[in-house]
Symmetry: C2
């Protein structure tokens, strides 16, 4: 996925393509760590000085709505966003530098069936997230 495709997605959904949106998309799409609205604002303003923080909020809202980005929950806070994975994927986060990797292939069927039986719940979804140190940060 490239910034161009994200803008095309916005356009297809009836949203206009503007310089403000272009700057926000460029930043968020290429980041390998989750960014807060203010971080996006600071970084995107280097590409488009006139950008307003309000527009960052509004653009992130739309990108989330189109599933192009997703919110990242962390012990320190839950206001950061990252370019979304495709299909059923989960996150692996570096506790030192914030780097995000996606992974798939978790198989929780046995577990969920057993929990469902034990608790009487109908289980619909799961959240799974791994935390650790990325290869670069391990070396310090």
């Amino acid at each position: 996925m490239s910034a161009k495709l994200w803008l095309a997605q916005l356009h297809e959904n009836g949203y206009r393509i503007t310089k403000a949106r272009g700057a926000v998309v460029e930043i968020v799409e290429t980041s390998n760590r989750a960014l807060t609205p203010v971080e996006v604002y600071d970084m995107a303003r280097k590409k488009y000085r006139a950008l307003g923080l309000v527009t960052v909020y509004r653009t992130l809202e739309k990108l989330e709505e189109l599933h192009l980005i997703q919110r990242v929950h962390q012990p320190m806070g839950c206001q950061a966003f990252i370019s979304a994975g495709h299909g059923h994927q989960h996150l692996l986060l570096c506790q030192n530098c914030g780097q995000v990797e996606f992974f798939e292939g978790d198989d929780l069927d046995v577990l969920t069936k057993s929990i469902a039986k034990k608790t009487g719940y109908q289980i619909n979804e799961h959240w799974l997230q791994l935390f650790g140190l990325c290869a670069a940060c391990r070396k310090n």
Copy 2:
């Protein structure tokens, strides 16, 4: 765990036992769903009218510090707290009524080892949460 034990814990850690704390503890300790500070405030004020919202925030902070409660992350928000589980446990949440159950016995060793190898990460922690409908809510 009972409210009395929580207060004893607070006392052991050098905190004083007050009516305000008693009311907050009573509410949080007995709830089977995660409560926000305002919810705790509203409910605890029925037991102790003079209670201030500030004190709720301050008490929750201390209870979290002592690991008596834990924050619950949900799609709708992450400002709610529930009485903490013991040892390594995970949450199962009812998407309808908010009921929380704890479960253990997940085994993610094979998965984490495989992801570690694939990504070069050293994996330290994991978050796992299940969502569904509790037995009561299934029947509607």
